[in-house]
Symmetry: C2
Subunit: 304 residues, 2 copies
DNA sequence: GAGGAAATGCTCACTTGGAGCATAAGGAGG
DNA sequence: CCTCCTTATGCTCCAAGTGAGCATTTCCTC
């Protein structure tokens, strides 16, 4: 009955847009596929010809970047008030895709960018980035500038939780939002002398942050890193990839221990001498574990 | 530039629908708010007047059920081909809401239902439900009936992973999908002698499964159970609520140990004698931890 | 041939998580 | 009033998991 009532109302018109965060790891850099020379994520409207949302997203990415996609998962859906046009609502559905960087597309404007160009304060592999101190100072100033004590305390608490010494790499979105609120990024309406870091159109940088956060969380319990690896790799290469994504370094021996005891990889029998030092065994991902434990976890030594 | 190309294409029309999975725990039953006498979830179109997707969803639920909402989070967005009407695409955005069951709404058709009426095979609190064996038999028959060996092996693997002895309560969606594929639920196009369990219109039962899966996963690392509890409760009541959601029993002493060492609750100083046995202390949730560790986890002894 | 860089093996101290034993404290029934 | 039943609470044990390091091995470069 309420169903019926629902049906009687004129359904509101809307436009659905598909936005993709496509990630690869090349060398030791986590990279994201962009269009418009790094200032936007691949995107396009959901059309009648698309079999599904995901299919539509794949089609746009392939059309705009000529890059094939592998693993894909939905991220988040939002409707900005700012995105309203001609009385219709614009709903944006974002996806996270994992792939390996192929030949540079010859499409104009299509480039792979290290995601740390957009979030330079997120790369802690070489210790805390210098700018973190500046950020801390400016955030505190912003917190102190609050009108009432409650807001002030709340801001300080959030600063401590997101930029604290025990930095949690999954909180990238919360950190970005804090910077946005504090007017430290150019996209912010209250921006004043923004800090370093490339911006993107609309809320694409925010969507990128969402994708990174999801990925940083997911590598801890699902074997998704392997979607970013070449067919054969050494354990150190695997570790470097995880470190690139997480933005922090890991204990080598423990990393190997966990990977091996998880039975996620198997030796190919080959050995590489391409690196310095003692030659390393090459491994391959045991694809079958994906089905085996689509469920069970994969666990990486990323706990804190 | 690719951006520009995107803009030049005529944006496809779509209709966005909001669907809500509203959960409460009453007594020892996890309940879901339904309309149409249990056959549908509250839902309605996203309209221009809605400030945001979430606001729209709240407004529909309140309008259809007169039930106030608390905690809410987005679940998933999908576009069924079947949902196409008049050449437009229908995008459905689903939400999960947690609340406490208030007075029964006087709206006709609005009822709270135990979610195990829809998924009777998911309640393992009293041991494996009798129907699980039947399900296993029928699923195996379905697997064996596959044309080629690969499909057969794959089906058996999935059956083992989802209905295996070490049943993982989070896989409720995968189990439902398997039953759907095997034609064991009435919604399935290949349905034949469906097993027990109430169906819902469209894919609402599937959305409910998604919501339950999310909630079962989330209670393990975020203090969301408290959204479902009264202001003051005993630790056993809290445990019963978690068990109701997870569909399985927990070790009492360990449960208390974890809850207490997490500092999630504090004693009210009161004692209740409303239950049998030794009177229990009443606790209240420390609301402030939500902000304290919006981040950090809460962890419940639900690991396996 | 020496030194440097990585790969590998192993140890140790601690933390967590799953189980179970034992005791305490009300209420109900006799 | 006494006994039994039920639930609340305290604690102990043990196994598995995790964070840090030490020690060796094996190539390459100089």
């Amino acid at each position: 009955m309420d169903q019926v009532r629902t049906r009687q109302r004129p359904a509101a018109e809307a436009t659905a847009e598909l936005i993709a965060v496509i990630v690869a790891v090349t060398g030791e850099a986590p990279r994201v596929l962009t269009i418009a020379d790094g200032s936007a994520l691949p995107s396009g409207p959901f059309e009648v010809t698309h079999r599904s949302l995901q299919a539509g997203m794949r089609s746009w990415v392939e059309q705009q970047t000529h890059h094939p996609l592998g693993y894909v998962e939905q991220l988040y859906t939002f409707a900005d008030r700012d995105r309203t046009r001609t009385g219709k609502r614009l709903v944006a559905i974002s996806y996270l895709g994992l792939t390996r960087e192929a030949r540079t597309s010859d499409e104009p404007g299509v480039t792979w960018q290290s995601w740390y160009r957009y979030f330079p304060w997120e790369d802690w592999r070489g210790g805390a980035p210098a700018m973190v101190e500046t950020i801390g100072t400016r955030l505190k100033a912003w917190a102190e500038a609050a009108d009432d004590a409650t807001t002030r305390r709340d801001r300080l608490r959030r600063i401590g939780a997101t930029f604290g010494p025990t930095l949690n790499e999954e909180l990238i979105l919360q950190r970005y939002e804090l910077l946005w609120e504090a007017g430290l990024v150019p996209e912010s309406p209250t921006a004043r002398e923004p800090i370093d870091g490339l911006a993107m159109t609309h809320d694409h940088r925010r969507i990128l942050a969402t994708g990174i956060a999801r990925l940083r969380a997911k590598i801890k319990y699902r074997p998704v890193v392997f979607e970013l690896m070449p067919p054969r790799f050494t354990l150190l290469q695997l570790q470097r990839a995880v470190e690139a994504l997480a933005g922090r370094l890991l204990h080598k021996q423990n990393f190997r221990r966990v990977i091996e005891q998880q039975d996620l990889v198997e030796e190919t029998g080959e050995i590489t001498t391409e690196t310095r030092g003692r030659p390393a065994k090459l491994f391959r991902f045991r694809r079958d574990v994906i089905s085996e434990r689509a469920v069970a976890g994969s666990k990486l030594p990323l706990a804190r």
